[in-house]
Subunit: 185 residues, 2 copies
DNA sequence: CGCTACTGTTCGTCAAGGCGAACAATTGGA
DNA sequence: TCCAATTGTTCGCCTTGACGAACAGTAGCG
């Protein structure tokens, strides 16, 4: 319906407004996106039901993912204490992954807390194409990354790598913890 | 261009194919989505540049976020060592936020590492509507959450709350660290 | 063998999106 | 002050997406 369309457009308009000080006028944005400024004008005014191509061009020109222009939100406060929560992938004694925030609804990422002990490297099979993983090491040290080139990381270190190739996590010190953000396509 | 459109359609088609065994035919999906099956047929065949309304209806009927039907992937391995990286919001001596992974391109979230010392509570102004924050505490303790009801958290604890209301982060112990995933709409 | 109910396809029609040009309304130098 | 270069708006024209009906291709059952 035009309610959704209106949402989209308003969001796009607000994003542009934020960068208006940096000289991002309606005309300029239309030029960068390669769409008619008349089209953009109508869009921002709340009318219209843009095609994906148009929306795509707009998102690229704005430097934001299309999702930013579309998907709706959801509020809630939730706490999971250390030691609580569902434990997935706990098939081994030296590696426990706690699922903090699962993907649905409305999100594209899974959030895990890792508690690991030194031992065998844990090798993960490739996830869906386009998946990205973000790892932040807490206390401890670990060897993390694609199987063909893992990196040794210490407390506070951060690494990101494609999740659609085999990758590895191997704790190098006792009671090594980490946070993993698994981002789906 | 039709390359992007083709991508979208192919993805949608493959999602449906996955559920074909559960009786999700093209006709059935079109009916549920409230769009003409001719439209869906052309879409899945790779032709067309669907409007947002159409795509929206399709995504809802499939029970997947629109992002799933659109956004492309991106590969890369990147490491930011503790102490390195751009430091934003470091206006205070007792609170430093390091930006690990910024939102564009292709993502909907910002990833921060927080290093904080006990002191004044850091109050964040509301972000864009629909924003969600996920916080995982590393070493230390902190008071985190919406300003009207923050929660005391210890190592490994996790909390999520809306980012579009005023919220607070106050370290309770020296050298408290945390990981914050800020998820945009 | 039909008959039925379904699959997904292609056709013609209508409405709507996207385009460019012409349009007012502001700003900024010279 | 006047001219130039912006701003974002509104107009007709053309293309194209979305629709519904008619279409061919397949099971499944009496």
């Amino acid at each position: 319906m035009d309610t959704s369309a209106a949402l989209i457009t308003l969001i796009a308009a607000s994003i542009r407004r934020e960068r208006e000080r940096t000289g991002l006028s309606l005309t300029e944005l239309a030029k960068r996106a390669g769409i008619a400024k008349s089209t953009l004008s109508q869009l921002e005014s709340g009318a219209g039901n843009p095609s994906v191509e148009t929306l795509w061009a707009l998102a690229v020109a704005l430097g934001v993912p299309i999702s930013r222009l579309i998907d709706p939100p959801r509020p809630h406060v939730r706490v999971i204490r250390a030691g609580e929560g569902p434990v997935t992938h706990s098939e081994r004694a030296d590696y426990a992954a706690t699922l903090l925030a699962s993907c649905p609804p409305g999100a594209r990422r899974d959030l895990f807390r890792i508690d690991a002990e030194p031992g065998e490297a844990r090798v993960s099979d490739p996830h869906n194409p386009g998946t990205m993983e973000h790892v932040i090491i807490g206390p401890g040290r670990a060897l993390v990354g694609p199987i063909e080139g893992p990196v040794e990381l210490g407390p506070g270190d951060y690494i990101t790598y494609p999740g659609d190739v085999p990758h590895v996590f191997r704790a190098l010190e006792p009671r090594t913890t980490a946070v993993i953000v698994m981002e789906h396509v």
